[in-house]
Symmetry: C2
Subunit: 464 residues, 2 copies
Amino acid sequence: MSMLDTVLIWISRNHKRWQGDLEKWLSIPSVSAQEAHAGDVREAAEWAEDYLRNIGLKVEIIATPRHPVILATTPAELAEPGAPEVLLYGHYDVQPPEPLDLWQSPPFKPTVRDGKLYARGANDDKGQVHAHLAAMLAWREINQKLPVRMTVLLEGEEEIGSPNLMAVVQAHAAQLRACKTLIISDGNQFAKGVPSIIYGLRGLVYAELTVTTANTDLHSGQFGGAVANPANALARIIAQLHDEQNRVTVPGFYTDVRPLTDTERAAWRQLPFDEAKFAGDLGVPAVTGEAGYSTLERLWGRPTLDVNGLTSGYQGPGAKTVLPCRASCKVSMRLVPDQAPAAIMAAFDAHVQSLAPAGTKVEVHWHGPGSPPALTAVTGPAIAAAQRAITTGYGIAPVLCREGGSIPVVTWFQQALGLEAVMIGFGLPDDRIHAPNEKIDLDGYFGGIRTAAALYEELGQALR
Amino acid sequence: MSMLDTVLIWISRNHKRWQGDLEKWLSIPSVSAQEAHAGDVREAAEWAEDYLRNIGLKVEIIATPRHPVILATTPAELAEPGAPEVLLYGHYDVQPPEPLDLWQSPPFKPTVRDGKLYARGANDDKGQVHAHLAAMLAWREINQKLPVRMTVLLEGEEEIGSPNLMAVVQAHAAQLRACKTLIISDGNQFAKGVPSIIYGLRGLVYAELTVTTANTDLHSGQFGGAVANPANALARIIAQLHDEQNRVTVPGFYTDVRPLTDTERAAWRQLPFDEAKFAGDLGVPAVTGEAGYSTLERLWGRPTLDVNGLTSGYQGPGAKTVLPCRASCKVSMRLVPDQAPAAIMAAFDAHVQSLAPAGTKVEVHWHGPGSPPALTAVTGPAIAAAQRAITTGYGIAPVLCREGGSIPVVTWFQQALGLEAVMIGFGLPDDRIHAPNEKIDLDGYFGGIRTAAALYEELGQALR
């Protein structure tokens, strides 16, 4: 029996322990977007610091203008001789839990129902980061030494666009460049029983669009019909952002989109994707989207423009006959290779101004600089090692997928450190990340711990 | 010197007293729409009860399923022999004060700036009702007897559509039918220095439109592009409710609209209306509205459709990449003669369903049964008496106007009791009713007390 086999058995015997540890971390409401939770974000960082120290790593909590970054390194004597250095990136902050009334159990009171652990962050990203921490702990307990020299970088601002991460990365660039690969577990398996390696991500830009008219809210009877209504005006602008084919109308939006290859489209058609079940699980009458593309193509290979929030006038109970003076929306655009955030932002700005109805003032504010889309090579020893590790961890070989979400740091690490990411996700597509009732499937989580343990062994061999 | 002259002098000598009394009433946050304020609504009713008792009236507080109605009558010995019975209608409830951060002084802490009294309800309707109460009190103090036998009916649910008023009116119909005319002061003068009598009102229907898609909020990266977005869908529906001429597209919407007569349009063109000042005061770059009509025609003689509130997704600070599963808006339509609320509601329901984008579910909920538009005759002894009273109270003869707002009870009283309303407003069009920084011009308020005092004398003679 190999040492890895012993580690895997040990992992299986300690499921309750891993889950209990994770539940403690999930109980800390580390919502990075809301200032009221700044202390909780700090507490979640300190929890991870303690956990990493307990594994034996040397840990530093690096202050930033907002939420701290954790940087942990493996002392030479705790790794096998000649073990390659490997960087693990993750985040310990979470999305806001609102709307709270739609949660079946409180978002920060982890609750198991039917083999799934429900809590904000259970999937994104505490659950997946913790699978790695548990795997490291298991290696240390069974073998004393790790098969790789792990550098662990955990940030507390991923859900607000990582405004301070790159300054920290740049300040530690020399040290981080010594790493031979980057591991990120911040995504999903293709489906339950279909583990995957992710080789492409969409990028993101996020705007707030505000329409103003009068200098105060007005009575809809006294003024209605003679003064522009910003809510109607905003609706008219939003409605003009798509055409009848559900294509985005911003001029130049598709200019830099790299067409999907026939090979890629053929490969995706082979994936076990059940569109009826997909729609049924979400409770939608039918899928919909850009004409001429399949659901997977729409999600992975085509850009989008979605309203993420609408705000205007009176939103309380009952009726208030107010003619609002302001209406706003939050709009996110998911980008695909080779769209550039700055070009899309400029095109959107100009287009929206051209749509401003008479009697209104339109302003666009961008939340952050945006993140570019990413595509990584699917050849090389690290990807091959990950394929073997997943086969060991989940008992089945992985498929190659893209993902519709964005992990901006993938591009940034590539640009700043020359490191390409190995992206293996332990979650499932129906885990409702960013939404009420986020969960992680416990089988997927335990399989993730096994996969991480095997990955360290495989990388320790492959990257020597 | 006539008794009225003495009363008017007495009113002028007691400005501080009237204002102080009004400020006490305005300090009670009688917000009928918000259950948390139910106790305050009750307190405002009791304040009025005490005030009316102090005048000498016999007062009853009539319970309803929600907020009480006050009914006060004048004992025979407190009115001049043979004095005609007259009904005064008003309301002591107010609109919600939100958004609070836009108020320069707290909405329920009455504050005088530059000759204007700022508070929620200062105009609508406590300030105007109190002008009548002060006039009654002055008559009682100077003359012991009132020139008319006043019946005062004050409700606490006007701002939520008067759901329980008509049951009370019907239960007291025999008593109320004895009244020879109905006085309502719940509107405005045409402008400062241009007092008016209002002979037309728009009606109102108020809908809540909800678009739902998936069974939960989703991650905009994981699902964006393949699932209908209810916020985008709602925007598309709203945008299609008007055409390029700003005409409402609901089929049949204009079928029953009575065209404005050339006489009426000519009379309105003579009114001292300064469109540039109107736009400048509101801070809008230009007026806008239905093509082919002037601003006054749009406000008084044409129906509208306005969004009063928009709600969807994440509305907090910063960015949340959520694909919402629900979006809703509040929509009010102002109606003109001879549009019928029920017909408009049915037409709107059908039209909105026809606009529902694929993959969405659209529902309409109506807040209340709506109120029909009203037009009253401008001839007859009561209107003539009001014209003389305004000339006495403000020192200038009134113009004849319509108003863009709705006072549903005007039609209801006409239908239930056969009483046509004499509508004389003491407010000004820039008083920001239903909006932050509502006010009443103190000159207009004191002129209103004088006008009310003179009106009772004139009606006492004219309706004998």
